[in-house]
Symmetry: D2
Subunit: 349 residues, 4 copies
Amino acid sequence: MTYSVAVSGASGYAGGEILRLLAAHPDIEIRTVTAHSNAGQPLIDHQPHLRSLAHLTLEDTTPEILAGHDIVFLALPHGQSAQYTDALADVPLVIDAGADHRLTSADAWAQFYGGAFSEPWSYGVPELPLAGGATQRSALAGATRIAAPGCNASTVALSLAPGVAAGVIDASDIVTVLAVGPSGAGKSLKTNLLASEILGSANPYAVGGTHRHIPEIRQSLVAAGAAGEVKISFTPVLVPMARGILATSTAPLAPGVTDAQIRDAWQAAYGDETFVQLLPEGQFPRTADVLGANTALLGLAIDRAANRVVVVAAVDNLVKGTAGAAIQSMNIALGLPEATGLTVNGVAP
Amino acid sequence: MTYSVAVSGASGYAGGEILRLLAAHPDIEIRTVTAHSNAGQPLIDHQPHLRSLAHLTLEDTTPEILAGHDIVFLALPHGQSAQYTDALADVPLVIDAGADHRLTSADAWAQFYGGAFSEPWSYGVPELPLAGGATQRSALAGATRIAAPGCNASTVALSLAPGVAAGVIDASDIVTVLAVGPSGAGKSLKTNLLASEILGSANPYAVGGTHRHIPEIRQSLVAAGAAGEVKISFTPVLVPMARGILATSTAPLAPGVTDAQIRDAWQAAYGDETFVQLLPEGQFPRTADVLGANTALLGLAIDRAANRVVVVAAVDNLVKGTAGAAIQSMNIALGLPEATGLTVNGVAP
Amino acid sequence: MTYSVAVSGASGYAGGEILRLLAAHPDIEIRTVTAHSNAGQPLIDHQPHLRSLAHLTLEDTTPEILAGHDIVFLALPHGQSAQYTDALADVPLVIDAGADHRLTSADAWAQFYGGAFSEPWSYGVPELPLAGGATQRSALAGATRIAAPGCNASTVALSLAPGVAAGVIDASDIVTVLAVGPSGAGKSLKTNLLASEILGSANPYAVGGTHRHIPEIRQSLVAAGAAGEVKISFTPVLVPMARGILATSTAPLAPGVTDAQIRDAWQAAYGDETFVQLLPEGQFPRTADVLGANTALLGLAIDRAANRVVVVAAVDNLVKGTAGAAIQSMNIALGLPEATGLTVNGVAP
Amino acid sequence: MTYSVAVSGASGYAGGEILRLLAAHPDIEIRTVTAHSNAGQPLIDHQPHLRSLAHLTLEDTTPEILAGHDIVFLALPHGQSAQYTDALADVPLVIDAGADHRLTSADAWAQFYGGAFSEPWSYGVPELPLAGGATQRSALAGATRIAAPGCNASTVALSLAPGVAAGVIDASDIVTVLAVGPSGAGKSLKTNLLASEILGSANPYAVGGTHRHIPEIRQSLVAAGAAGEVKISFTPVLVPMARGILATSTAPLAPGVTDAQIRDAWQAAYGDETFVQLLPEGQFPRTADVLGANTALLGLAIDRAANRVVVVAAVDNLVKGTAGAAIQSMNIALGLPEATGLTVNGVAP
């Protein structure tokens, strides 16, 4: 069957990437695209790369316009999804690319976001190891409400969860630093996102424990079975590439573990996965290798002198970090082959 | 007086930057430039930005040609400086921009570089705090043999040494991740340094404790008074900017220290410095702000949830990281005003 | 049916892009990949973004290894294809991504390339208008030997051929300037292709009429019906993006033509095309809009004050400029739907 | 003596560059910096690279605050300078970095800018050849009101004026295409200037004869002695570098001129200049070579097949294109050595 779809936030970067991927999905009909301030304009004026969707016009983002589809994607600023929840009650599948339904802790929401807390939906990172041996995939089969992950959060969680689940690393002193492209910040008119500010420069932001993806990582690592408190030093750095996350995540080694035990933890978690791949020993990924692809590539080093595992992960923030995660989760929810409409090969160089 | 200077390795990036800075130095006459494979060619063919030096021709790098100057700069691959030591015995001041004379430990040299160990020279990071309250500047006054620092090493050492010296952080579990531009790797014909490989991508290298700047950082932090073993997880990531280092360095907080004590440690160390500046609380530097300048800008956050201090440092790898450090050290050694020929303002945007 | 394919030059940029596209083509089995100096190594070591082809090993590029496939792609430096011609006589379809079989004029070959001239093959730019109303597509149906175009050449030819064919512009004084990414120069170890040289800089090359794509453009415009001599001032400028060509091509207006006649010429040529699209009046394309796509986007302005038409074209040099053109031509030659395995939507931002 | 200076528009890119250069000028005291919306804030918050000016606070841009200095720099959006003219009547030297006083033709102003026309001031491109053998320098000696040039306009005018003045090229069919960095568009919050839009892409704008620098070029070439109408096809292309203009300008050769005559025209015009340099035959400049410098580098090719001269010029749009031109002109007006506070060497790589 073909599923009818509406995409809100269609003039933004996340919305545009959802559309790019859906346009290549054989089971989807993109029926409706909506936006707030740009309603009434051709989609192609805001997404000039989506040539196959040149016939679509942006409509207003209202519950009435979004209702009546088989699937609705919400790509809205955080705090805005809740107002559509009731009106979309009859929509079989709603996928939120925003933050509103990711966190299970109202306290964490209050601390990092503020405003009304919304109930958590099924978290859209299928490969995430859970304590006890299952993966998050099990929570997505048949799901009707899905929260796509934060791009940085899922990248770091995928990087470290296997070690946490296997008990070979200590989650109480994680340090992660991420080189990220500005598209993750959305199509926002802010001075610090201007090309002149970012070209030729590396610019840190949200330094010192304030980034909103921190509680989301903590939640995933707790779900993976972390014993004791999860502590994360998290620093993102904007670098001059439109897309991509290169996350370097480190954690102390658990006492007495061998190198083989460590590597086996990741190999066991991802050895059968299509979209999360552990590179051979001594190899590390580049973001170019996953550009446009739904792939998370991980390289792992064991630094005995520093007593830390180092996991370097490369992800396209708009694909595996957002839109690809959403569509992979949609495929699982609908019972479609999980890779439908997604590619594992990046566009490089 | 005017000092006559010879610069070897003048066709490379480090040599070129030494020349760019010397060309603006009022007390220097650049008399001789040398290179290996490009000897006989005009300097301007290899450094087309150095318009004021268009009259110079590259000579061969031999002891005879380098001798007879007041000052000689060596900008050679590691392991090559030693062969010139004897021949340059009569040169009043020799400054090595390479690695050969940085390390005090023959073991560390053997482990990270290999080959014959050379005696350490005065280490060219004037602002580096030393145990007991002095700075490295004291070792440079009147020096006749100076080792310019490794760019990443000095950036990280300057980031953390004040906290180590003051005893407010724990040097036994440092984690540092650096976004670096490819000019730090030199003008080397390697596939991974091609523009097509680096544009639009973040590429890690030397992951897992193998980078040669690790023992150099350790040495500086020991000199700053680190109690116990210094352990460093160090990961550099190539990002698409020609120049610049954005180092995010974290270390556990010492038990019981207050926020004020922490911040005071850095403020006390650098409050009177021209070229190393601590930004106000809540501000963090960008590499663009120090492009072309001899300035290291530091931003400091105290993340109590992670129990770590986070220091973000921005440095131009070719200036404060290499050539500027060399010339600032030269000024000190010669008794000239320390900032002569150097600028504190970056070229931005 | 499924066609078996061999790709030579598989460790380079053009070869890699051919493989990326073929991997998404439903009628193709990639059986053999070859390279010269890297033979014996896993393909994935040289093309780490091609995750779905991780099982392939590079073999040596020999006639014996390439023979015996349904289709052979040659992605070799110019002058090297001829040696395989005889050995591949029994291969039903050979597509050369190199220059050897593009030019019809032995004189032009001698002037711009030198060495032995090879006979021209069917030129792989299907949408190119020909004098008399046909397109180059007609020459590709059933073709057994295809020459994929030069990326700059096809971009400029597609930009201006409709106007030449319709007689609304004068081909005797064309000026074209192209902003191009370095991937068009291949994975060559040359100083001027290093990231440090290209980041933050715009670098012209082949200025003054020496670029090898000039005779190829001339040939296409003659085929489109140019009356009189075709003269082209052609200047390419390397800019800091891995991929992409943004060609600004101008030509004098023919006497007496109206704006509508001019615009109609392009509209008539491309109005029914999938992969070559004329944007609405007042709109101009960006290379990001065609990244990874087989699309050439054209924007057209009529500058009466300068008495010139200005056509700005955006193309991904590795797709529509090379590998996509090859596969689109292959589809035509084999009688497959022309767009099989190709996408019209770019990856942006 | 030391001149007191006020700089308006000090939070923008042009104002920031004026300040960066003035901070290195030995005869200048920067006393006042002003801005509109950011008045009351520390300058360093908006220009974090200007470390030596961290003591300055932005004041409001009013006639009262600007008055009373020896020199006032206006770096305001076009149309805003006129309101300060009367109030600054007693200021000995006023330099406008904006467009208001560049054009001598009210008609051209009306066509390209609109609004009230202001009288032209001394045009700040000292090296520009004038008909009759003088240069624009003569008009700047002792000037009290100076209009700094448009960055693209002065780059193209410097590229072609020697040929026009010497009569070796035909100014009636000029074609120029410029690769430009986004800083030329100012610190404006526009979607098309966001980093995500510009990274990895080449984006044309103002295509087809609408750019405001066209009449300014025409005016300069008429001043250089152009016989007959000057026609210019002008296309700027935004490329992913913060700064820089790489202008490729072509014009038909005058009948019968020899190669030597052509080259001599440029050599005669610039052979004695410090900041405008003609490269040796066969060499062409890169924007990196002039980054941060007040240098315009020109490369010249004679393409007999196309019957055109091709001049490629590299300029830093914020220095020689704007702030450096202003300060060089200021030096001339004040009778200071022309190069005071300016550098000829670029910051590369």
